[in-house]
């Protein structure tokens, strides 16, 4: 029983990370109907930048909380800048092109960012400086570390802030309006270009936070960590209902739990036929199931009304 609990705990942590990244996908899809495949690389950039900055600051003797804050700020700034730049350079010119063009462009941007990271940081794994002394807490037989609790807390705070932004601010209202019907929102006085840029910026900021948390959790960052993560987060977004912000949250958490439980029990379930090295298939299996049986996702799709 405590194994099940532990797997659930693991799954929730993983799920929080997926949810943070899935939000970026879902917001962009809601407004542009574009699957921003480069989003995974933004997460990777966030991780790499935060690890690099943190390493420099810690080596210079800066106190840990300040170093972490600066590293986070640096990662957020870099990611927001990259996200907005990518939108401006790669997606805006294709705003009215057939849907396939920006999709392929997104894949191209993903490749460019990966290779840029490889050129800048090399092919080595970067290691997250051991600044967070791990404390392990026991809870009904399951162990949770302070880093894991931090991840859940930060993820929850960030997602709460996002919901506040979208529901209670002018920018949020503009985003919702643009997501509903771009042309009409423009007619109503919304600066559509600015709103789209802001959406990318917000999504990228979330990605930066996710990147820092992932680097802190696993202790490593490397240039091709974004690809698979991006695909899984996208699957999570689809699972919850693409375009739907609470959907991304739910999808992310659910996917994390399914993956953890699946990887833990798959050996027993299939009688040893499939081993736990098939952990990654769960995300894609879910994606296929969702697309076949409930394409609008669990909480329903929320995309532009083209009527």
């Amino acid at each position: 029983m405590d194994v099940l609990l532990q797997q659930l705990v693991n799954g929730l942590i993983l799920g929080s990370l997926y949810a943070l990244v899935a939000l970026g996908y879902t917001m962009v899809y809601g407004i542009l109907e574009l699957i921003n495949f480069a989003h995974g690389e933004i997460v990777m950039l966030g991780a790499m930048v935060s690890v690099t900055v943190l390493g420099l600051l810690v080596a210079a003797g800066v106190p840990v909380p300040l170093a972490l804050a600066v590293a986070l700020a640096a990662a957020v700034l870099v990611c927001m800048a990259t996200g907005v730049l990518v939108e401006r350079v790669a997606y805006r010119p294709l705003r009215n092109a057939p849907r396939l063009a920006p999709l392929i462009t997104a894949i191209g941007v993903s490749i460019v960012l990966q290779n840029l990271a490889m050129i800048i940081w090399g092919r080595q794994y970067l290691s997250f400086p051991p600044v967070l002394a791990p404390h392990v807490y026991e809870w009904h037989g399951a162990t949770v570390s302070n880093v894991q609790l931090l991840i859940v807390a930060v993820a929850a705070l960030t997602m709460g802030a996002l919901l506040l932004l979208v529901q209670r601010t002018r920018l949020g209202r503009a985003m919702r309006a643009t997501a509903q019907h771009r042309e009409v929102a423009g007619l109503m006085g919304v600066d559509v270009n600015r709103v789209i840029a802001a959406t990318f910026a917000v999504g990228s900021a979330l990605a930066a936070v996710a990147g820092l948390l992932i680097a802190a959790y696993y202790g490593i960052a490397h240039y091709n960590m974004g690809f698979l993560l991006g695909l899984k987060a996208f699957s999570a977004a689809v699972l919850g209902g693409i375009g739907n912000i609470p959907g991304a949250l739910l999808g992310g958490l659910l996917l994390g739990v399914i993956e953890s439980l699946g990887a833990g029990y798959i050996g027993d379930l299939t009688g040893g036929f499939l081993g736990s090295h098939y952990q990654d298939i769960f995300a894609f299996f879910i994606l296929i199931l969702v697309l076949v049986f409930r394409p609008s996702g669990l909480l329903g799709e929320r995309v532009a009304d083209r009527a």
């Binding site: 791990p134 696993y218 202790g219 490593i220 090295h277 990654d280």
Partner: protein, 379 residues
């Protein structure tokens, strides 16, 4: 008549141009393949640097073959630790006319590539592939300069059982990881221990909490991992985060400077095995380390082995006075030299005779040798 004149002219031209090359040394291409991109790139670069150190040292002595001065050129290729890429790269090297290959790193790459080299009679000496299957395919061209996984796995299994009777194992499903753990399981059984659980992962994963949790419930004393350091490092961190106090052991894929860097304080107490002697105890170790550090920086794991692989290959060519594989392959088989790593001689399969295996433990952030098994007594 006109065509005969044309042919005569062409032949004459080639006759005239040929001697012009005699003044410059002929180049002999030696292939060197390892992952130069990806998570194991630091290990691949280590191999390239080791081989390069050897080749440059030999070139500096102005070697001659068949009376002609020759220069050995290292043709370096990247196989990204991927079996498919390895075969493509192997074919490329064959087409480029290499006379021998130092490589690959991963057993999963060496094994498929060896077929291509064998079909073209190109000798291959691996500085790092430890899977038993590599030399047991019946090819005459496969060699390695380190102990194989049957020795390594047995050493690991025995030592693990010494630490505790309940042993859990994880492998990364590559030819190397799987082969190593299969041997570890045999070693554990032979030493009277019990394998309480076996889990799997891939050589690209970073999240192991699910499988470690699953193993935790089986209450092991030791966890043995067959795989490389980019997985081993996060694995031991997650192990400790889950509150598991078990000993953590791994093979040569884990026993590297990179593991220490990536695992940080969580790596303390981890045990890794490595075929061969500790660099400090190798007969040529101190000198090699000095020469290598001057030029390339820190030794990861495989540089001395790559160095000796290149030396063995080139010396066989020099002894046979030819770069043609049919001529120097028999000389390669008869190799009996003292390399940096120690005495090198091959058995009939191409395995290193009396290859030692050393177990290291992380103490205060450094790998310290704990025990050496097999081989000639380390001094």
């Amino acid at each position: 008549m006109r065509s005969k004149l044309l042919i005569a002219c062409i032949l004459g031209a080639s006759y005239w141009t040929a001697p012009a090359g005699a003044a410059d040394p002929a180049t002999v291409k030696i292939g060197c393949v390892a992952p130069l991109t990806g998570p194991q790139a630091h290990l691949g670069k280590d191999i390239e640097n080791g081989a390069r150190l050897a080749v440059d040292a030999i070139n500096a002595t102005h070697p001659t073959l068949g009376g002609q001065p020759v220069q050995f050129v290292l043709q370096v290729e990247d196989d990204a630790a991927d079996p498919k890429t390895a075969t493509v790269v192997a074919q490329k090297l064959v087409d480029e006319g290499v006379k021998g290959v130092v490589g690959h790193l991963n057993s999963g790459a060496s094994i498929p590539a060896s077929r291509i080299y064998a079909d073209n009679d190109i000798p291959q000496i691996s500085p790092a592939s430890t899977a038993v299957a590599y030399t047991h395919q019946g090819f005459k061209t496969t060699y390695r300069v380190m102990a194989n996984d049957s020795q390594q796995g047995q050493a690991l299994g025995k030592y693990a059982t010494k630490l505790g009777k309940r042993v859990a194992v994880i492998d990364d499903r590559t030819a190397y990881g799987q082969g190593l753990i299969d041997e570890v399981v045999k070693g554990v059984a032979a030493a009277g221990g019990e394998v309480v659980g076996r889990e799997y992962t891939t050589d690209k994963s970073t999240d192991f909490t699910a499988i470690l949790t699953s193993l935790k419930s089986k209450k092991p004393d030791v966890v043995v991992f067959g795989g490389m350091d980019p997985q081993a490092a996060p694995m031991i961190r997650q192990l400790r985060t889950l509150g598991m106090k078990t000993a953590f052991m791994g093979g040569d894929g884990m026993q590297s400077a990179e593991f220490l860097k990536l695992a940080g304080p969580a790596g303390e107490g981890a045990i890794g095995s490595s075929p061969g002697l500790p660099l400090a105890k190798m007969p040529g170790g101190a000198d090699f380390r000095k020469r290598f550090n001057e030029r390339f920086g820190k030794v990861q794991i495989y540089a001395p082995f790559a160095h000796d692989a290149a030396v063995v290959m080139i010396q066989a060519m020099l002894r046979a006075d030819s770069t043609e594989p049919e001529k120097y392959l028999p000389e390669l088989a008869k190799t009996r030299i003292d390399g940096v790593i120690g005495p090198i001689a091959f058995d009939d399969k191409g395995d290193l005779k009396d290859g030692p295996v050393t177990l290291y433990q992380v103490k205060k952030g450094h790998w310290e040798p704990v025990e050496t098994v097999g081989g000639q007594a380390a001094k």
